[in-house]
Symmetry: D2
Subunit: 385 residues, 4 copies
């Protein structure tokens, strides 16, 4: 079932906006740089509007289009369903794809509610027994610098972890006149900064530590309550129904304290996903605006020459980057997705479950729900169960 | 009362450890660089142990010593009492000095409890009517880069403030075998990281915004509960009775959200007091490990060339630094105290109340108390009243 | 002649090592992100060894292979010849391709000698009249940050230029046991660090200033004279016959002074191509290890807030990057080649001569020759004519 | 002779401008932080104008004044003569002071010509036999980060050195209307950027490597030939008779290649004295605008985590800084002078010759002369003999 028997595997992708563009690039590129057991075929692109979907398929390089995602799933030339739609349709599409025996790659956050995510995780688990693979697209797990960071933590190079501080700072909503989008509507996006970018730092820190948050205390707020409807001739405004910023404190089972901040109002910070971890033996710092670098303080260095090392994570021995260019030649944002589909194709071939799977997506969803609950209850501590 | 009539003014300083050393340098240096109306005389140094106090006075350059701080206060050659002792003695000394008609400079935090701080603030206010000046030594208000930052906020260059993120990160307790000190005992220090370094970022951010925090949600923790008694022949351990780390969320009346973290367990961060502020029109970032620099993002710059500016705050027109060296020649930690006593001497001469006064110290104390209360109540929101 | 009449254009590429890999990615990717008037077809890959060339074609995605570059040039399905071989074969291939009526993209340096480069430039000029386009692949001219830098200089934002300092620092030869390669042999490479990476900073600075160097004074040296032959069972060594490092001073007609350094022995610097320019009104700084950033000092800013701005060159209005991802999402090394072929295809369609053309390549070659001449004459000044 | 017998030693300082102010601070401060065998007394300040010298003495804290430097030298209460005048008077004052049996601290550059410097070095050598100590004030040798750098080189942590790149960049002359000063007149200053700031990077790199430059190839230029006379009512201009910028290449006996650039026209660089050294085993980088930091790349680190370490040179075990504040508390520009007089006083007491002595000053002078000679001979190589 997993492939066409000729070493290729057909992909059907639903959605062709920002995420669709970057996923397409990954499917199109992966086998030219990595040794994949299965070469992806860009079989079908799904979109609601026929004209726009055809135009997108032509530009992006997809062989066919479907305007009904159910038809896309049903096609024989599709073995992988790649879900690049807003969060409100993730569950329905994923469950249908799994029911149809397909592998599923789903954009994050996995869903808009814990209940949806639970259904999806359960379905994925059942399908796994049937040889189907499911993955949630937390692409920051495939940033070479963060994979190296995880290796250092796992090897004990940081010792016992005491502190985690994570921020995801953007500024594209800082202007109060920036237009309304589906990302600002609770029905479509589930939440605001929390699910859009907060989900990334929750997942990334749980990945780095290899632990799950046990509880949180949170504050959320909405700074701009009404925004212009793009292109509206009468200049009407629409209601923002999600958080503009989410701040929370958390704890890990090992005793580490954590602090998180997600906002799209940090003027001047374009895509600053930052993580810093302090352990008893070492510390790490990362900023996605310098994504090819990892800062590492090795507490076992002699005092005279100890200092944060700016590791340029572009050596052939670093995770993933040997497939690209010589040392010092940077990679960019899209490469994280190419790494992701490389691992996904390998898992499909090997019959191993991808990480992060839907269960990991569910775990993040539970944290988001706890954050919302605490913010709604005067910041009182809420356990993540 | 305020001076000896000859253009000088006598200082009596209680305590001669770290803070005593840096205050002494300021008193000894200020008039050589700044135009002060009153030249400080290093009249009397107070300390409990006669031998050690005499040795310190000789090294630091004080004319006389007293082992009883009450005797120090009573001396005619002392017009300013400078309190450099642990927090548990601040109130008693300050009240006595004010009662004796002296001006008072007191190290931070102002006191170990809100009740003490209230008494001190009330006494300072009464004394002010009598021409006596009181100041609390939040020296970060005299870092030129932070004064410039405050000016930019006050001028509206950042517009409405949305976010404040402040961290004070040190690592001298990261080693679980670092010895016990008075700073780890609740009776002497009041609290741990919270009062020692958290107080600085609370005061600095309230200074930067010109607003007071309205409430907080907090988590505190102690990582190492017992530490070796320095020099103990039997290797005995003593109990740490304060927080090792304090994390809290807060709100300002203008609607800005704030997040704070104070710890002495951030391995590799030696004295990283960081503040970042995002407003509707601009953003600022500062790190005390690069204390001569301020990062400023001006949102009104054209998009093509907008970016965080690394301002080297060493130009003659920048606050305080014209008194020192040419552009690009850095100043260090101790200069902030020289600026502090410069302003204090000027206030004494002008009959104006110093900022930050004891009331500002009380305001910080109230935030610290609210943090402790929230941390003790499952992080539930606590208003600062 | 310029295309197949169906909106596509056939590419034949000679060479499939490092440069071949990155050029291929550009040809394969450009039309998916940019609006190109001609879509490249990966028609033929040329290489000397049939087996290895077939394997490379399969991996990289080329339709056919040729082991004789003359056969590749002769094919009807090839309209563009892309030369990715060492410098010693550039002239012969380029002249043959131009004689066959093809467009030519040639890797840098254009040739191994001035005489070769002159022949090539003359041939390209003649061919231009025939509608054929020629370009030399100085890809740093397509780094968005450097294009922005050029714009700022051209707009007069820096005023009269006084200083240029350029370094290209790598470290892959720092280990004296790193193996011999064709890049260390004068017959194949022409020169060492000088032509390999020095050529880039000469071209980039001439591009930034819009001026040509008038003369140079130089020092070159070889640190390691013999290196192991890779895979030699007897551990034999081969002679390094090129420079390991080239340093030179230069002058521009406008009066600017320049300093250059090219080395592959700067341990820890992986691919640090740095340029700094100081003008009467502003300054710029760039480092390819942070290739998405440009530092700009605007001397017309008020003194209080002037400072080098870290411009993240990822805004939609910045050169090229609007075609990629949202603000703050970095691009990498290979994107510069995609930008290059985008411009090349546009020029082919428009009938305009690409920049940098072979004449620009010749100009760089003359500087390299002057550097070698000065280094061979006790650093005496040598004019570039 | 070396002291007053009471543990103090009298200082007579000639000149009270920028250098006089910073030297005064060092004499006034050193014994309060360092254990010096001799406590300096600020005995006499020398200056040409009685009124201004008296005012300076009062402000800076000197006990007496002299308007004739010969009278100052002759005084019994002066054991150390500190020369803070422009270079044209260094020789005369130093020779007279040595003849009078005094110790001499002389600002850099040692003199305005090699001939003068040779006379001074010879006189200092003779005087040394008589127990008199002479030192030239290359204060960058007392920056803790550079002392640490020297230690790493001396310990072999960098292995064989291949590259040195040094820049001293300021911008105070970038404005063509900045007024004329003695620093721009050949008679008083000897040379321009070359002697003023180029001398510092020549000395600092010779110090770091423990080697002397063997030859140079140079270019110098003057960008602005006439400048306004400050305060002239008729707006007259005066002739600039020195270099505005000096660039040169050099070689060290060990085979290292070096490149230098000194300019006061690098807009935006306020006091950027930068040195980078690449060796076979490690690399170092330093910028005086971040003077508390040293970047160190240890080539023996495992590849995975190798990177330039940002060493905050503020640990108690780092050179000099244990005398100041706790880790992470920065020191500033003036501290380098305090370190300098600390070492000078120690040498006087111990009867050891200070480093850098007048011979070191002479060595720098010879390099400056070679640079000027090469620049005047079409950049032809000039040996330093």
């Amino acid at each position: 079932m997993s492939n066409a028997g000729d070493g290729t595997i057909g992909v059907g992708m639903v959605g062709h906006a920002f995420m669709g563009r970057v996923h397409t690039h990954a499917w199109r590129t992966v086998h030219h740089f990595f040794d994949v057991p299965l070469t992806p075929r860009l079989a079908v692109l799904g979109g609601r509007d026929l004209g726009r979907t055809k135009a997108a398929a032509a530009k992006l390089g997809w062989d066919a289009v479907e305007t009904d995602w159910r038809a896309l799933i049903a096609r024989d030339d599709v073995q992988i369903v790649d879900i690049c739609t807003p969060g409100d349709s993730h569950k329905e599409i994923a469950l249908a794809a799994l029911a149809a025996g397909k592998h599923v790659l789903c954009e994050k956050p996995l869903a808009n509610t814990v209940a949806e995510a639970e259904e999806m995780a359960a379905a994925a688990e059942s399908a796994s027994a049937n040889g189907q693979r499911s993955m949630v697209a937390f692409n920051y797990r495939r940033v070479p610098a963060l994979v190296l960071a995880r290796q250092l933590v796992a090897e004990g190079r940081l010792g016992k972890i005491r502190h985690v501080r994570a921020q995801y700072l953007q500024d594209w909503l800082s202007d109060a006149n920036a237009p309304m989008t589906w990302r600002l509507r609770k029905e479509s996006a589930g939440s605001g900064a929390l699910g859009d970018i907060g989900a990334h730092i929750v997942d990334a820190t749980q990945f780095l530590l290899g632990e799950l948050l046990t509880g949180v205390s949170a504050v959320t707020d909405t700074f701009v309550h009404k925004r212009p409807i793009e292109g509206d001739p009468d200049g009407r405004l629409d209601d923002v129904t999600v958080d503009d910023a989410a701040l929370f404190l958390g704890r890990f089972p090992s005793g580490a304290l954590a602090v998180y901040e997600a906002t799209r109002f940090a003027l001047g910070r374009k895509n600053s996903m930052r993580v810093e971890v302090n352990g008893e033996l070492g510390s790490l710092a990362f900023d996605f605006e310098s994504m090819n670098e990892l800062s590492f303080y090795d507490g076992t260095d002699e005092e005279q020459t100890a200092g944060f090392r700016r590791i340029l994570v572009t050596e052939p021995t670093h995770p993933y980057v040997g497939a690209w260019w010589p040392p010092g030649h940077l990679i960019g944002y899209e490469h994280t997705f190419t790494h992701e589909v490389y691992d996904f194709l390998t898992d499909i071939h090997n019959g191993t479950d991808p990480v992060p799977g839907f269960t990991d997506g569910l775990r993040v969803q539970k944290v988001l729900a706890a954050v919302a609950a605490s913010a709604g209850d005067h910041s009182a501590w809420v356990s993540v169960t």
